[in-house]
Symmetry: D2
Amino acid sequence: MTSSSRAQAGDLAQLLGPRGNRMTVLLRPGLRVETMHGMIPHEQIIGKEWGREVTTHLGKTFTLLQPALDDLLRDIERNTQVIYPKDIGYILLSLGVGPGSQVLEAGTGSGALTVALAHAVGPIGHVFSYERRPEIQEIARGNLERFGFADRVTLKVRDISAGFDENGLRAIFLDLPNPEDYLSQVRAALQPGGFFGSILPTANQVSLLLAALKQNGFGFVEVSEILHRYYKPIAERLRPVDTMTAHTGFLIFARRLVENHLET
Amino acid sequence: MTSSSRAQAGDLAQLLGPRGNRMTVLLRPGLRVETMHGMIPHEQIIGKEWGREVTTHLGKTFTLLQPALDDLLRDIERNTQVIYPKDIGYILLSLGVGPGSQVLEAGTGSGALTVALAHAVGPIGHVFSYERRPEIQEIARGNLERFGFADRVTLKVRDISAGFDENGLRAIFLDLPNPEDYLSQVRAALQPGGFFGSILPTANQVSLLLAALKQNGFGFVEVSEILHRYYKPIAERLRPVDTMTAHTGFLIFARRLVENHLET
Amino acid sequence: MTSSSRAQAGDLAQLLGPRGNRMTVLLRPGLRVETMHGMIPHEQIIGKEWGREVTTHLGKTFTLLQPALDDLLRDIERNTQVIYPKDIGYILLSLGVGPGSQVLEAGTGSGALTVALAHAVGPIGHVFSYERRPEIQEIARGNLERFGFADRVTLKVRDISAGFDENGLRAIFLDLPNPEDYLSQVRAALQPGGFFGSILPTANQVSLLLAALKQNGFGFVEVSEILHRYYKPIAERLRPVDTMTAHTGFLIFARRLVENHLET
Amino acid sequence: MTSSSRAQAGDLAQLLGPRGNRMTVLLRPGLRVETMHGMIPHEQIIGKEWGREVTTHLGKTFTLLQPALDDLLRDIERNTQVIYPKDIGYILLSLGVGPGSQVLEAGTGSGALTVALAHAVGPIGHVFSYERRPEIQEIARGNLERFGFADRVTLKVRDISAGFDENGLRAIFLDLPNPEDYLSQVRAALQPGGFFGSILPTANQVSLLLAALKQNGFGFVEVSEILHRYYKPIAERLRPVDTMTAHTGFLIFARRLVENHLET
């Protein structure tokens, strides 16, 4: 097995602390982790076996783990409104995104989906991510750098009504309030049969998008929503938790068709 | 963009037909697709632009598309009881599986999760998949070959009570009715902090697994379930469909801890 | 206790048969129950203790039970598109309907909600039920008679754009595709603070109704939906069933306000 | 219409205030309502038309409405762990409870279900409610008196392992953590074919109850759960709210069968 059993400089490390606290850090000698329960120098973490405990200067213990993508996303999630893991997993499957894929998204936002896409396409794939607001895209850039994915992603500041630079793409995802306004631009950048996806909070937005998809030559349209319910993990008292997220967004997927009037 | 805009020999092609019929074929000159609405020689498909229509000898038209992983999984799903896309996306995220990952699963079953894992780890990752029943694993082998993933997966026929050949792994998933019986074997093969996952249909099984996880030094346990609700994609009459899948399984994730009594 | 422990002529009886078959009959000497598994004369049922078994002329056994309202509603449900028990229970609570209530509904449809309302208001309450299509209302009349509620309900054939005969009512429920067109009529018939309710299948209809409620002086608006998930009732393998009803309708409730410009 | 259009002494009145505050009061001359936004003498409310506004001595306005059962239940809900409206509506339907019914429950708790049962059985029905802890039953007594239902309910302080005083009942509901321990007592008090119901938070408890129901001659067992999802009631931005109650309890219903060995 290639992956090391010990934390090394340059690794992403996750610290799980008292009361389920979670934080993710990129290990670099000379730095230190600041927690609500005291401080830990990175040197004390580097070289430690994954799964073991580390102790703050106040004597509180944290467990040292390698983060999953799910953990990275939750880390982003804490700070901003983002796409949730329950939705991201299904988005990746539905867009056919995997190692080596080239995929485009707009807008970048705080970069939760960007991170997930960059993770999934791997070092030989690539992500093109458009965003109108430069200051927001800088947050995404920070997240991508922190997780080591900066070189897999081309970030562009652009109002996409001007269109995309890429074409012949296999998958495009719009995380914008008005995707219906950009379908001709999506169509121009997408290969025939290519995958389009979007996530929208309101039913009204979904209706607008559905009408526009029909008018712009998209087919095989699918609308769905994913509900994720956690349980209290207690063997002798198994039951769902008291409250859950009731809604994040409606997921819409479609595929670019070749217009009939172009067929000969 | 590297991916071709036209179907080529060796490509997986998806044909979407009348009434939403879907079928996936590996394009090879000399073969032909048999549908309920007539036959199409592969030669007639190869060279065709993705997104266009192809016609059977009975004059019925099918749309030619590149399949997403989601489509491949649905194709498997039709024939056997499998893990659903809604669950698979979340499993991949929660296990931290991505390009280059080494991951182990048992049992193989008909290979739906195996295909998804092989897709996600990419050409430089690897999947080890154990199954007790040789005849079942042959179905999985067929699916892996059909989708071009055979070389990314090592299939083993084995009762896993005898343990695994691998060790230091980062992620192991058990798709078996009694995962609680194999946690010491999982522990031996998993690196400290490594990810364990399972899916179980009944609450009673979840309780048994939760108790066993506690006894075997696993922590950060999470139990959840995912509900996926489709909508009728009609702009002016947006509403959920009439019926939905009410249950596939409870998802359980945990991480291998280092025992306290081993710490020095 | 006043209710008899034995089935009597005039009672509603429920027969639960092989494979969970259910049927409800009003016991009358001289009649006979026809089942897929043979016939039973009513005389053979009358005088029998509730909970016991009765046998068809083909030797198949059915269990004799007193039906709950839930059972009556399921009986109606089998034949037509109706409001479901999961929704009806909440509708009754939200409209404040109980013994002695006077309540109005339109349209009658096949009478599932009418039966539930008639049951809840009891012998001293009353239900006014409007329906545009006489042939449909006859189905409801049959159901009401079968369940012994005919004298608690006044059925009227009317296009309600002409308004209602009643006024000062405490609760009105519209089970129509376009309730937004009748809110001034509802307002005229409802006492200040009175309860309005409706059930609608599509999100688009809900949006139309919400806008109209605002314009017509209704407040305290609530929109919700109820999902009902059954489990397989097996102690050692407890789990949800495989499929469930994904959607029946969105429930909308509001209360008539007194306009500010009328306040003095 | 018999119900008055104006609030009268002895009526239950609901005051809906700024930010959706709700409170329910029994109107009695001489008393006054204390709110966070000031005080209102009951005299100022009595004689006022339902749906109008009343003003506190600090100048804040509240809307005067007649409460529905749903409102009364929410009022109880605020203070204690209770059965929710979404569940209560379905419980009433499934137990066949309506005007004139005689029904038994244990334990009383804070009286949310007791209030709902008392409302549903009306003035000619009756509720018998058992509770082991006298101090808890006093809370229920207060709620029943406040809502005017005291004379419809007989409250008894009793450990029900000693059995019930009543027999030949048509419906019994146990809201206790261990209903499986009292099924022989339930059986003795229930008429053949009578309805049994319970609500339990954990899957483990449901399994215990299911096994006991089988052993004690109950049949037609149903297990289910009800999810209630609210929407933001905004016409142009219709969407579910962000969070919802994920779980209140599993609902279990069954019917008392006559044992085969007693049949002759």
